[in-house]
Symmetry: none
Subunit: 410 residues, 2 copies
């Protein structure tokens, strides 16, 4: 079965809001094994809405609308859909009472045009709105399923999960199960070449790489009759992939690199302190996003000025004079210094040129040194990054996080 999502609302076409409803519904439907082939946004316009719906009916088994169920004249989703499906709108007494009750509960006078919301297509399954006034509805006609949901996410999401999901699930046989592997330290195209044979020979599960800023995710999706079979199929492919990619696979599902690193620190009880220059606190900020990190993340220092590097980290003035603030030597002394002075297990430091100014031929914008110090050793990575200040700072923080991760799991 395939589905299509149609969001109705001029505010979307004006760019005033993002269509998060489409993402939510796509995710839910993919879990049901239903392929979403199209997402469309159309305005509150009778003709364009009509064309869009007719087009959708011709190509999709399930058509889900969000928005346009409001009380005002320009909300005409229900009227338009009912017209095309040749279903008259009838007053649904229970819904009317619910709407009246809703206004009573918030001590507001119900305006006359809210009654409009209680009129629903004849023979539809009424979907009650537990968080607002507009009821939704589900229509099954000529082998198609048409669903209308309200636009506000806080009303739409529970309505879908509680009332639509169960109905659609009961009509689907195959279930879709998917797993995401998160990878850092290899580019999308190199990764595809690395896995080319696996990706090409796989049809179920399928393997879809997706690159996003600095990292790559691999989605393994299996379509089977039951979850056990799906999980097994996925596991087999996952093993192969993990063997190929090894340590570059840092996580699964929704977990971010900073989350993985922070949780590793917490699990292993490793204390850490950071000394940052060009990233200005970005590494510390990412490390501290995870609740409970305060037990491991002792302190962070943003030593922009040379004095602060000397005062707070004990970097020697000679090193600064001889090699400069952006140098491997300074990075190493920063890492050692922050570790010793904070009395922690691991010290990490960053110094570099984020740009746009401050670059030179021998030390160009994007040159960054990331160093780590532990009880027994001290090492430094040289990064040469491209892009603007924001990207250089972000990539640096991710490379630093990955350096910590590799140390913790080694």
């Amino acid at each position: 079965m395939n589905a299509e999502i149609i969001a109705v609302g001029t505010e979307l076409l004006l760019g005033q809001i993002v269509n998060t409803n489409a993402q939510f519904l796509s995710l839910q439907l993919s879990q049901l094994g239903i392929d979403v082939y199209f997402q469309t946004v159309v305005g509150d316009n009778h003709n364009r809405l009509k064309d869009t719906f007719q087009h959708a009916l011709n190509r999709s088994d399930i058509v889900i609308f969000t928005g346009g169920l409001g009380p005002t004249k320009d909300d005409l989703t229900k009227e338009t859909i009912a017209e095309i499906l040749a279903l008259p709108l009838e007053l649904h007494e229970e819904s009317l009472q619910r709407i009246k009750g809703f206004f009573k509960s918030i001590h507001r006078q119900m305006s006359h045009n809210n009654e409009k919301q209680a009129y629903l297509p004849k023979g539809c399954t009424v979907l009650q709105n537990d968080y607002g006034t507009a009821p939704g509805c589900l229509i099954e006609k000529d082998g198609k399923i048409v669903v209308m949901l309200p636009g506000p996410p806080r009303e739409m999401k529970p309505m879908f999960n509680n009332y639509v999901f169960p109905i659609i699930r009961s009509e689907t046989s195959d279930i879709i199960y998917s797993k995401v592997l998160r990878i850092f330290g290899i580019g999308e195209s190199s990764l595809e070449e690395e896995l080319a044979d696996i990706i090409e020979t796989q049809s179920n599960p399928t393997i879809a790489p997706y690159a996003k800023e600095g990292e790559v995710t691999l989605r393994i999706t299996a379509k089977c009759e039951n979850e056990e079979e799906a999980q097994e199929r996925i596991q087999q492919v996952e093993q192969k992939i993990r063997q190929r990619l090894g340590i570059t696979v840092y996580g699964e599902g929704e977990e971010s690199l900073e989350e993985v690193v922070s949780n590793l620190l917490i699990q292993k009880g490793v204390t850490i302190a950071a000394a940052e220059s060009c990233t200005g606190g970005l590494l510390a900020e990412k490390l501290s996003r995870t609740p409970g990190i305060s037990s491991c993340f002792n302190r962070g220092m943003i030593t922009y000025s040379n004095e602060s590097k000397v005062e707070l980290l004990g970097v020697s003035q000679e090193t600064l004079n001889q090699y400069g603030a952006v140098s491997e030597q300074t990075a190493l002394e920063m890492a050692k210094g922050v570790r010793e002075r904070s009395k922690v297990d691991v010290g990490i430091s960053i110094t570099g040129i984020a740009g746009p100014g401050g670059g030179s031929t021998e030390k160009p914008v994007g040159l960054v040194y990331v160093a780590m110090a532990t009880e027994h050793k001290c090492w430094c990575q040289t990064l040469r990054l491209a892009g603007n200040r924001e990207r250089i700072r972000n990539m640096t923080s991710m490379r630093a996080l990955d350096m910590i991760r590799r140390y913790l799991i080694s």
Copy 2:
């Protein structure tokens, strides 16, 4: 003129990501006075992409694609569009060199399939990618404009603003000119009440408030035959609004609160140091986003642990024992301490409970103290914030930035 936006990407249909590109482009096009009637998302599938494009060509003057320009086999936007427009793909030498240069600059080996990205439809206007590998292109054929842009927002947005916007603007008659005022420290509804009479009596320019995390933006949009007239109309309304809102108007256009504050510091040559606890470096990170800030932002300290507050900032153990780490007294000592020890003009400090854990009845999650110390005085703001850890940290950093801003312009 009307336009249609087509985002290509299976990750969108799977609900892995939200289609923020469509919002961005819709907003830009509305500024050009172009009506966006449809936004569509379609997968990396030849036939469905073909149908979608043909359908779009029949109903829209401008069709803008995002995504599917990547190096991998499943990226086939360019190939499909070129086929329908009967334009052969030709190697664009300059783009190939740019791509090679990009990989050289990041010291990575260019994988063979990246060459694919340098093949572009014959006769198109090549749109260079300043932040990635895939060039975009603009095709004018049979009175239609077809644009292909890369999927990653950081590559797509500047490409549209710098290379596509000017071309489309030159083809539209009535120009739309708009100005955005950025406001912090007043809620959307209070702001609407404050400006109700102005907003209602205005038709050209129109005034549209929009609330986003912690701040409100006001978009003033005039539609005129020439820019001078538009600017004059806007200026008149802007004056009225600024008189009403006073100091809460912190900026214009795209400038962020952190940018405004950092630039104020740089202009006024005021040096600053920050001491953060619950925000874990977020304030420092925001302050240091602006190039050139290193001359003013001397250092930042993330003093998570009590020892670090004592050691690095000179907070007295008594204060910590008597009032606790999250208290006005501690915040004030942190601000004074970081100012004195860094020998800067202004010290700012943050201590609070970001949650989800660590709250109590008298000190609930969301309780945050932000203090400032200058040569002559020292003061503290108590914040009681709602929401999750991320929101509390972000709102805190913005309130702190606004505190600095108000001090600098007072």
